[in-house]
């Protein structure tokens, strides 16, 4: 149960394009919507309309400012959810066997009827991908929309995670990262996809694509708009001096 499989048949996961993400949080909303209405305990909110609202989310979008050694800083929107790690530390720490990694597709799931809500898996995850639902007392995490991707009652185009399906910018991609020739694997290869916190040794399946380098000079008109004179002359100069004397 909580022993990790030596290998999985597929490595289903997400590829998130930090170049394309506009930080609209649509993936956050669609994730919350789907996963509240479908598989497992609903994602509860506490004090949703009060002073200090909080709630359970399986996907969150951070925004960072990155300052290169030279040039302007960049704002980068950064969606974060479970990375479905190959060496998932959250699974092995689980005392009840509620957490497991599926052999067939590598998805990391929680069997909620076995979860005692001890929170140890959330401690073991370096990424903050697991949140203990405060109403149900069970651990919630991204299921990769396991109840969508194999769901034959849905039209074919909807058989992908809700976040991927909804992303208006096309910044999220879903597929088998274990298959070298899959679209997502090719995307990772050509764009130089990377792991989050590789030093933690978790071997995440999800990959992030780096922002493309920005053009060195974006605004070609800017140099032409330099102020013509630093000091005002003529009528404005007279006005400036007169006002200063007052």
């Amino acid at each position: 149960m909580t022993q990790l499989p030596a290998q999985t048949d597929k490595k289903l996961g997400l590829v998130i394009d930090l170049d394309t993400c506009v930080g609209c949080h649509a993936c956050v909303v669609s994730c919350k919507g789907w996963n509240t209405e479908n598989y497992g305990a609903a994602l509860s909110d506490q004090n949703a309309y009060g002073k200090d609202p909080s709630g359970t989310f399986l996907n969150r979008v951070h925004s960072y400012e990155v300052q290169p050694d030279q040039g302007a800083a960049q704002t980068i929107h950064f969606p974060k959810s479970c990375l479905h790690c190959e060496d998932a530390p959250c699974v092995t720490v689980c005392p009840t066997g509620a957490s497991y990694k599926r052999v067939e597709d590598g998805i990391v799931l929680v069997n909620e009827s076995d979860c005692i809500g001890c929170g140890l898996c959330a401690w073991a995850c370096p990424y903050g991908a697991r949140e203990l639902d405060q109403a149900e007392g069970v651990m919630k995490k991204c299921t990769l929309c396991v109840d969508r991707i194999y769901n034959e009652n849905l039209p074919k185009e909807d058989r992908q995670p809700a976040c991927v399906r909804t992303c208006p910018a096309g910044a999220r991609h879903f597929g088998d990262l274990g298959d070298e020739n899959s679209d997502v694997s090719i995307l990772v290869k050509t764009r130089g996809g990377f792991d989050l916190m590789p030093e933690q040794g978790t071997k995440p399946v999800n990959k992030y694509l780096p922002p493309r380098p920005k053009d060195e000079q974006i605004d070609i008109l800017a140099p032409l708009l330099e102020p013509v004179a630093a000091e005002p002359t003529g009528f404005l100069g007279w006005l400036d001096k007169t006002l200063e004397k007052l």
Binding site: M1, T2, V28, D52, P53, S54, G55, F57, R60, H62, S63, Y64, E65, V66, Q67, P68, D69, A73, Q74, T75, I76, K80, P89, V91, T92, V93, C94, P95, T96, G97, A98, S113, C115, I116, G117, C118, G119, L120, A122, W123, A124, C125, P126, Y127, G128, E131, L132, Q134, E136, V138, M139, F194, L196, M197, P198, E199, Q200, Y208, P210, P211
Partner: protein, 291 residues
């Protein structure tokens, strides 16, 4: 990390209880009848009380029995199994001593070893957590064993072992703090590695994903209270180690002095255990520009 009172009580008091059981298993003190009953009663009250306290932070404690199933990989599961095994073995051993005035040495030895292993199990629940570099270090099991055995010696009146233990854990605690303060940097996780954006430049949190604190931040990005850490460290090490040591060394030994020493030691253990959690920094804090 959030210093939950239930977890602090669990680790301190169950450690103390299992430490006591380890000594009693070895026949220290060699008592029988009602006196033995009192000793065993205190040890069991501490050990079981601690374990019960640990269930208070569970979301679904009614399913706690399932936690005995995953001993192959999970230290929390192993700790539970070892604790129950210790309590069962020592229960039989105690019945022999209390009611039949018979000490089954081998059973006691087995119980003592199990009690010792239970404390290792408790320590490894934290020691295994790689995401908290301060905990993921050999000092964590040593601290837990040191505290449990010193407390056990103190509670069972093993004066020589207790005085030696008190000095040892004081020194050990200071060493653990000195090493622990450098651990996060040593492990090398930064906001740059967490986001993978370090190749572009210096990363700064621009906007949080949510407007108020969530579970992750309450549980793992506990930063309040750290500002008193230095004072609490001094108070903690005085209470847990130096004061009880001085009481045992320089004052005539009697029940009142022993009680004072135990109270000081326990108050100190609660303080340093609070710091063990409050000062522990989790990598998820990096995503929030905090530690």
């Amino acid at each position: 990390m959030h210093p939950a009172p239930s977890i602090i009580f669990f680790t301190v008091f169950s450690g103390l209880g299992f430490g006591m059981l380890a000594f009693m298993g070895l026949g220290k003190p060699d008592v029988s009848g009602f006196t033995a009953f009192i000793f065993f009663f205190i040890a069991y009250a501490l050990a079981v009380g601690g374990l019960i306290s640990s269930t208070f932070h569970l979301g679904n404690p009614q399913r706690a029995l399932k936690a005995f199933s995953q001993w192959k990989t999970s230290w929390l599961s192993r700790e539970g199994c070892l604790a129950v095994a210790t309590l069962l073995v020592m229960g039989l051993y105690a019945i022999g001593i209390i009611f039949f005035n018979t000490r089954i040495g081998l059973l006691g030895l087995l119980g003592a070893i199990l009690a010792f292993c239970t404390v290792i199990g408790t320590s490894m629940i934290y020691g295994q957590i790689k995401t908290v570099p301060r905990w993921h270090h050999w000092t964590t099991p040593l601290i837990y064993i040191g505290y449990a055995m010193t407390g056990g010696a103190l509670m069972t009146g093993q004066l020589r072992i207790a005085t030696a233990g008190l000095v040892t854990i004081g020194a050990l605690q200071v060493v653990a703090w000195i090493i622990g303060d450098k651990r996060f940097a040593e492990e090398g996780s930064t906001i740059e590695t967490a986001t993978g954006l370090g190749t572009i430049g210096k990363v700064r949190m621009f906007e949080a994903p949510h407007s108020s604190k969530n579970y992750l931040m309450k549980e793992m990005v506990h930063v309040i209270g750290r500002k008193h850490a230095r004072n609490l460290r001094i108070i903690g090490v005085l209470l847990v180690s130096l004061i009880p040591w001085a009481l045992l060394m320089f004052f005539p030994f009697n029940h009142f002095m022993a009680l004072l020493a135990v109270l000081a030691h326990v108050a100190g253990a609660l303080t340093t255990r609070w710091l063990f959690f409050a000062e522990a920094e989790h990598t998820v804090g990096l995503y929030y520009g905090q530690r």
